[in-house]
Amino acid sequence: MPKLVVKNLRKLFGTFEAVKDVGFQVEEKETLCLLGPSGCGKTTTLRIIAGLEVPTSGEILVDGVLVNDVPPQKRQIGLVFQDYAIFPHLSVFENIAYGLRVRKMPEAQLRTKVHDTASLIGVDNILDVPGKKLGLSEMQRVAIGRSIALDPKLLLLDEPLSNIDAKAREKMRAELGKLQKEIGIATVYVTHDQLEAMTLADRIAVMRDGLIEQIGTTSQIYDSPRTLFVANFIGSPSMNLIDCELVQNEERAILKSRDFALDITELAERVRGESKARELILGIRPEDVSVDVRKTDPEAMQSEVQLVEPIGARSIYHLKIGRLTVLAKVYAMPELEVGSKVWISFNKEKLHLFDKKTQEAIL
């Protein structure tokens, strides 16, 4: 049975509807990420699951049991706050031990548990340090340790990495991922950073304005975004989005945009819904754009390099076709520079088409 079930969740703050209708499930040992821009209701949802906010309507079930009326103290859910909320007047040891003392765990057992948890999260060398003297990543570890020491049924994390500077963040992300595999508790993770979501989650729920736009595995979200918002949110750099229109007759189907035309006859049958001359948006990720100095692909289009962004082994090329700029993320080609003429082609298998009113047509 799923560890956590959220059904038809709705939350009003006065007249403001923070959460409109949210529902999802989390299985044991699974990590679900709630991803979305700030204000989309993801943190509110998390707080409702923890019991710190009361939903206007909807149900929360943990282990199959309805917990709507259960106070946060009794839910056995761990919550790691965005600012960690470490008790500044207590040592690391006492912070981790806090919940255990609430449960009146016998001293010897408590000590073992705290020490075990501390070594798991890597703080066993600073157990005596008072909370207010800890650095940010140390605080985060202690916050996590404090929650998992109680062997909660569910672990909730609210933007745990957003307070940490970029350099340390990479390291923490890796550690967090490792920790999650080791502990194996069902986890719900809230973030606005899509890279974090992609690396740490088993499944992602993309949220916007109090609703879940799409929920699925990382590859599902990445490869088959169902809405324009999801497609645009995931991926770095963002997907290229080009206005176009579909012109179809018995023989051919052509996508016509202001600056180029693309033949998609072989994909035409997969296009869903009405297709006659609708306003569409073509989506292609920069990774799926190929760049070549010679025209090896008969359907390749000519373009001019506008800007080169070197980011390591790969580079991002800003390419101009007519008045349109397309981004391509390919292995660096040092021979290219601003003004060079190149041929670009789109990987048709990775093409996305969206109705201008946000819905997807084909993969």
């Binding site: 919550l79 600012d83 500044p88």
Partner: protein, 304 residues
């Protein structure tokens, strides 16, 4: 390098301002405090009194007879003991009641602002009116007797508060507690309300009950504030004068409820024992300065 004339002018202007700004202050302080202070030091080494027959600035320096007299003065000792007892009773009670009230007011409830406003008023009333109010309350035919003790213990339960030294002192203490508990309440409440909400939520998620959270999160975090409040109130309580004067005048009898301030007042104004009053005052000042120094030490450290 030659300084720009405008800059020099500016520096001169601000320098003058700097000196001028504290000039009136110095004047007033010198006049009202330092001159009498100097007189006090001088007179305490004499044996002058208004009835001595000569002007005080002609008084011969007699050395330390007044100070020796002070150390042998039983009435002084008793005044000191009484004042200490007063503070020792009043301070903890004000603290505990203030703490209780703050905990009671933690969180929201209907009419909170109105109730809080009501609670503030005792602090703003003139001390003599507080004394007057409780003087009237504790009269033999007053509400404490008639509305509280008589219904509980019958006619025999009524007590003459002001003819018994202990009871009179108790009445004074109750008046002080009534007036100053709101101050403790205010300080403690401000401290409790400043505890970050996140910490409280974190403790809740970890399973702690409200009572436990108050004990393990709120109280430890406001400890330095509590120390400050106690020190401030404690020092003030030592100086009590107005309510004692109004309610008992030091009586019943001559000095059964006499606190230090009252004794010094009596010496100075009622008995006209000027040089002795000066000596005693000087001793009190020295003692106060020392105690203040000691009391400030924990405050200085806390400022870090």
């Amino acid at each position: 390098m030659k300084r720009a004339p405008r800059l020099t002018q500016w520096i001169r202007k601000t320098e003058t301002f700097k000196k001028l700004s504290t000039l009136p202050l110095n004047f007033v302080l010198n006049f009202v405090l330092i001159v009498p202070f100097a007189i006090m030091i001088f007179l305490s080494f004499t044996t002058w009194e208004p009835l001595s027959g000569y002007d005080w600035w002609h008084a011969p320096v007699a050395g330390v007879p007044r100070f020796i007299e002070a150390f042998g003065d039983a009435r002084l000792l008793w005044a000191f003991i009484r004042t200490t007892v007063f503070v020792a009773v009043v301070l903890p009670l004000e603290f505990l009641l203030g703490l209780g009230m703050a905990l009671l007011f933690l969180g929201d409830f209907r009419g909170k602002r109105a109730f809080t406003s009501v609670l503030m008023y005792p602090m703003m009333m003139p001390w003599v009116v507080v004394g007057l109010g409780f003087y009237l309350m504790f009269q033999y035919y007053g509400p404490v007797n008639l509305l509280l003790l008589k219904p509980m213990f019958g006619e025999g339960g009524m007590v003459d508060w002001f003819t018994n030294a202990v009871l009179a002192f108790g009445a004074v203490m109750i008046a002080d507690i009534w007036q100053w508990t709101p101050l403790m309440f205010l300080i403690i409440y401000a401290g409790l309300a400043a505890v970050p909400r996140r910490l409280i939520e974190a403790a809740q998620v970890l399973g702690a009950s409200s009572a436990r959270i108050v004990a393990t999160v709120h109280l430890p975090l406001i400890k330095p504030l509590l120390v400050v409040a106690l020190i401030i109130r404690g020092l003030e309580a030592f100086k009590v004068f107005d309510i004692v004067y109004i309610m008992t005048r030091g009586g019943p009898g001559v000095n059964s409820t006499e606190v230090i301030s009252l004794y010094v007042y009596n010496l100075s104004i009622v008995y006209h024992n000027t040089s002795y009053a000066c000596a005693v005052s000087l001793l009190i000042m020295v003692a106060t300065a020392l105690v203040t120094r000691l009391a400030i030490r924990p405050l200085e450290v806390k400022v870090e």
